[in-house]
Symmetry: C2
Subunit: 323 residues, 2 copies
DNA sequence: GTGAAAGCGCTAACAT
DNA sequence: ATGTTAGCGCTTTCAC
């Protein structure tokens, strides 16, 4: 790999001049500029970003750390982040933790050691990772899930309100025993959605905790059918809702007749599934955009009180909950 | 941020010793080791990976460049890559090009300047990007889509065979006018699947080219209905198949009665959709694993002839094609 | 076993 | 407008 000195020698100028031409931040004689660019082309020179980053002690990379790349919710979010990032001159690298706190910690450490310009994280709950992030001076935005309450910029949807609306909806259309399948304790979305359900329910709550994944939803639904047989269920994320549907199909439980179902997070093709799934939809793409803007702002002005932005969720009533 | 010299001073040793302790590649006196680790803890020292990478002129990061993060096919593939990468001591950063050759080129350039240890790419067709990759000495593996025929390690499925089987299947169950919706010319999967279709078809081919995305599939299906009205269609990827289904639903065309449908690439929840979708399924996760192994091997021994691995595809016959 | 010193490739003062 | 020079933080000879 040729270095900037090879280019300088080849163009018969100093390395500083090559640097100036390539970074375009100072005026350079047109003739020299041409010589330099010619040398760059001829040698196939590509600047070493590692050296540049070391020298400048900053990068133009954002780390986006999400917990499940298989969940369409996160991928839509990432699109929103990417679009804003690109506009602001940053590139996005994605890190998938697979809901594994240890992997999360690994990626956070990597992002910090790599001197990333900023981090957007939807935490799967690693306390270590959170601590490292808080101690570092690297700008951080929590997205979807809270990191350390109020300590960093945060964007999320109105989880409690959405869950409340979903549960009320089931009760209003006539279901009597409404259960809830939520996510792991300690993950803020799981806890808030559970709270929304609890507030809405008038009878004794029927609750299962699972892992926000499809198999978890399947198992939780099976357990509900075996033990407490509700007549409707509010499932606190999209993948678990799929799992629940699959379980109900396997056991020949009629939807919405024998069991009403509402999910949280839309799923792509929710309308193609039969019966189509009623969901609490989130402005996923927008969530990403807002987080990215917060991060860009925070990088510009690192001091200042962190803000928390709550976006509204919206019920999409479809067949699975209409009695 | 404390540097290695701060730690050295605090522990009253030299920076070299701190480095040795932290990298554990040489024997250091236990007492000193303890002093160093204590200092590290007390200062909250985190090594600067940028400086380390510059000095070593290598990293432990892989760039995985895919063309559509919203496509479950790619995300499953990434899982396979990640699992192998982690085992081999590498971290994976994902770059999403959104089928945009320009973005692809940007990410390739970034990966090379960042001195990434290796690149796994499913190209959206940027010739520039391909050229940069070939000219660099960075190890590259092409996954799913060919990059530069035979010039780099490549893993893909038997696209032609899968497409042939899908088309034959439609003919065998009794459809007479079988059309094909494939992807952009120049993208290897699109071209190979089209060839498989052409080989299987006995009548005049009826073909549409779209962009491998949902809206593209919708539009292509609409165009087919308007102009040539086939009685069955082979759609060359999952998202376009979804689009086609949605178009058929919108126009009240009965599946499989009035129109048989087979897709390429499985979709999650293909079985929940009504009618369920017949697909040519790929060993997606395995595709990722194999690519990752090839990359790890190539990094160990950069010379040697590149290999091409073809994995089999498998028909999953469901309702959408049973007459 | 440990320390001194050089240098990875680049940019940004500073000097001219 | 251009060149000289120092140094970003780390690892790795090379001496001892």
């Amino acid at each position: 790999m040729p270095t900037i000195y090879d280019v300088a020698r080849h163009a018969e100028v100093s390395a500083a001049t090559v640097s100036r031409v390539l970074n375009g931040n100072q005026t350079v004689d047109p003739a020299m500029t041409a010589r330099v660019l010619k040398a760059v082309r001829e040698l196939g020179y590509r600047p070493n970003a590692v050296a540049r980053n070391l020298r400048r002690s900053r990068t133009t990379l954002w780390a986006v750390i999400i917990s499940d790349i298989g969940n369409p919710f996160f991928t839509a979010m990432v699109r929103g982040i990417e679009d804003v990032a690109q506009q602001a001159g940053y590139s996005v690298v994605l890190c998938n933790t697979d809901e594994d706190p240890e992997k999360e910690n690994t990626y956070v450490t990597a992002a910090l050691s790599q001197q990333m310009a900023g981090v957007i994280i939807s935490s799967s709950g690693s306390a270590k990772a959170a601590k490292h992030l808080m101690e570092s001076s690297t700008p951080v935005v929590a997205i979807d899930r809270e990191l350390a309450k109020g300590a960093v910029d945060t964007v999320m949807v109105d989880n409690e309100g959405g869950a409340y609306a979903a549960t009320r909806h089931l009760i209003d259309v006539g279901y009597r025993r409404v259960a809830c399948v939520t996510g792991p304790a300690g993950v803020s979305t799981a806890d808030r959605r559970l709270r929304g359900y609890t507030k809405a329910i008038e009878t004794a709550p029927i609750v299962r905790r699972a892992d926000f994944r499809e198999q978890g939803g399947f198992d939780a639904m099976a357990s509900l059918l075996d033990d407490e047989r509700p007549d409707a269920v509010f499932v606190a994320n999209n993948l678990m809702a799929i799992g629940a549907l699959r379980c109900l199909a396997a056991r020949d439980v009629g939807i919405p007749g024998e069991m009403g179902v509402v999910g949280f997070d839309d799923i792509p093709w929710a309308d193609l599934i039969r019966p189509s799934l009623t969901t609490v939809a989130q402005p996923t793409y927008e969530l990403g955009r807002v987080a990215a803007r917060l991060l860009a702002d925070r990088i510009e002005s690192p001091s200042g009180k962190p803000s928390t932005i709550i976006l509204p969720a919206e019920m999409h009533v479809r067949q699975s909950s209409s009695r």
